[in-house]
Amino acid sequence: MIVATNVNKYFYVPEELHALKDASLTVASGEVVVIIGPSGSGKSTFLRCLNRLEYAEKGEITIDGMSVLDPKADINKIRAETGMVFQSFNLFPHKTVLENITMAQISVRKRSKKEAVDKAMMLLEKVGIAEKHHVSPSKLSGGQQQRVAIARSLAMDPKVLLFDEPTSALDPEMVGEVLDVMKNLAKEGMTMVVVTHEMGFAREVADRVIFMDDGAIIEEGTPEHFFTNPENERTQTFLNQIL
């Protein structure tokens, strides 16, 4: 589903930084890949490169066979197939919850208003906040907002969902409700790439865990291998620090 080969990314502001060093990753359809690593390790950058929110200067990325880095690629089409859930939710504050979910369905997927509303209500039901469909996002708790954001991504029927630290901005008691939604999605066979610090989630749900440090992928393996006997020294240090 996703094939990323030797992705390199540089930032020049404020000073030159080699943010991604030959990162390669293959995600099969239906697979859940969790990326962990210390802050500044490039995991969010890598995720953002996958749907070109950041443009990787070198390397190759394809999603469902479509080349992401090809300047001629229809990036809007690729992004519509690649849902993204942000750390800070990024719901549209001037729209209601329902409009947040129907907007792109109508303008990008060209669905009728009724189709879009039906789909949105179905998804809100699924994430457990159907009764809040008419309120403004600012009236919702963080956990509820993040669930709306997931529903908004799902409404596009994406082939892949990317999660950029979806629970990092949440109060501890709300983390569970968002992770539950993500677990259900994983069970239903959604292809997911998740950047997170939730080791419990990684252990329980991930098919594969990837450890990144200093812009490079250091270690890759099943959660079992990862959390019981990591090979790399840096992985061991990181896991010791947070577990």
Binding site: F86, N90, L91, M103, S107, S153
Partner: protein, 334 residues
């Protein structure tokens, strides 16, 4: 009430009443000072002369154009048909029945008044006010469109667009409106009208040169306000919209712009209030808006202070009206 409640200790019980009283007293003081100032200058105030520049009664007279005898008067609703029989000629006149001053068999000479009627007419000040309102309304709409487009060009990746926007903004914002008006009308306007005349077309009415220069002038300021508004919306909003597959323009129009506009409404209101007052310069290209009319009226009435104060009050009505509309928009945008 306060924007930052709870940051300071609660106010004492009479805090509000005391400062409300202070406010009222200062207002009364200002009014009293102004009143005594008007008394102390050597000037005779005649406020009643103002009235006729808002509405006046015009005496419409119907006069005979031939010499002869009034042969018959046939009432026909509000008007009467007066038949004047002269030597070898006859005329019929429609005269208001109430204002008839001739009777049957009266002999009338040429230019004699057959009847008169008083009609209410709209005064010059009102005509000026309407023109100012019209010019301002069109200019506000145009300025908003120009401002949004230039604001978007200003943040564009395309150097041609961005530099054009910067050049336009700096040039127009940095030079006096009066000079721009004259250039638009006397230089560009002349060229345009000559070209149109060469193609056998009629020239563009002066008012449009005024509208365009006002709109372009305000548009330059509006562009910078719009740019600041767009930049104040978090980049995450654009990323979220684009990651759903929306195009740049779609995301800009549906996600960024609505949020930006509702944030910049107070600044836009100020800009457009300025526009209304700037329209007072249009008199220099002989557009008879409120200020130009006031000048004329002052010359005719010889009561400058009354006329200028009334002129200011009329501008205040327009600007305050705009301010109220924007405040309402602001409330509904939240």
């Amino acid at each position: 009430m306060s924007l930052y409640p709870g940051l300071d200790a609660p106010r004492s019980k009479n805090y509000k009443q005391f400062w409300a009283a202070v406010f009222c007293l200062s207002i009364i003081g200002i009014i009293a000072t102004t009143f005594f100032a008007t008394k102390s200058i050597d000037y005779v105030w005649r406020w009643n002369t103002v009235v006729k520049y808002f509405a006046y009664q015009d005496n419409m007279e119907t006069v005979a154009e031939i010499e002869g005898i009034v042969a018959s008067i046939t009432p026909n609703g509000l008007t009467s048909n007066v038949h004047v029989q002269g030597v070898g000629e006859a005329e019929d006149y429609q005269v208001p029945t109430k204002g008839l001053v001739v009777g049957v068999n009266d002999y009338v000479y040429m230019e004699d008044v057959l009847g008169s009627e008083k009609k209410w007419k709209v005064g010059l000040m009102v005509l000026g006010l309407i023109l100012t309102l019209k010019v301002s309304a069109i200019s506000v709409v145009l300025a908003l469109i120009i401002g949004i487009l230039t604001g978007l060009a200003r943040i564009s990746d395309n150097p041609a667009l961005r530099w054009t926007a910067i050049t336009y903004i700096e040039l127009v914002r940095g030079s006096p409106l009066l000079v721009q008006l004259m250039l638009w009308y006397f230089v560009i306007g002349t060229l345009f009208n000559n070209l149109l005349a060469a193609w056998g077309l009629s020239s563009i009415p002066t008012i449009w040169y005024g509208v365009v220069s006002l709109a372009l002038f305000t548009g330059a300021y509006t562009a910078e306000i719009v740019r600041a508004g767009i930049q104040s919306v978090h980049t995450g909003q654009m990323e979220a919209a684009r990651s759903l597959g929306m195009s740049y323009s779609e995301a800009m129009g549906k996600v960024i712009m609505p949020q930006a506009i509702s944030r910049i409404l107070p600044a836009l209101a100020g800009q457009f209030i300025s526009l209304i007052k700037d329209s007072s310069l249009l008199g220099v290209i002989s557009i008879r808006e409120l200020t130009k009319i006031t000048r004329e009226v002052v010359t005719a009435s010889l009561q400058p202070f009354e006329m200028w104060i009334v002129c200011a009050l009329l501008y205040l009505i327009l600007t305050f009206g705009l301010s109220l509309i924007v405040q309402k928009l602001e409330r509904s945008a939240i």
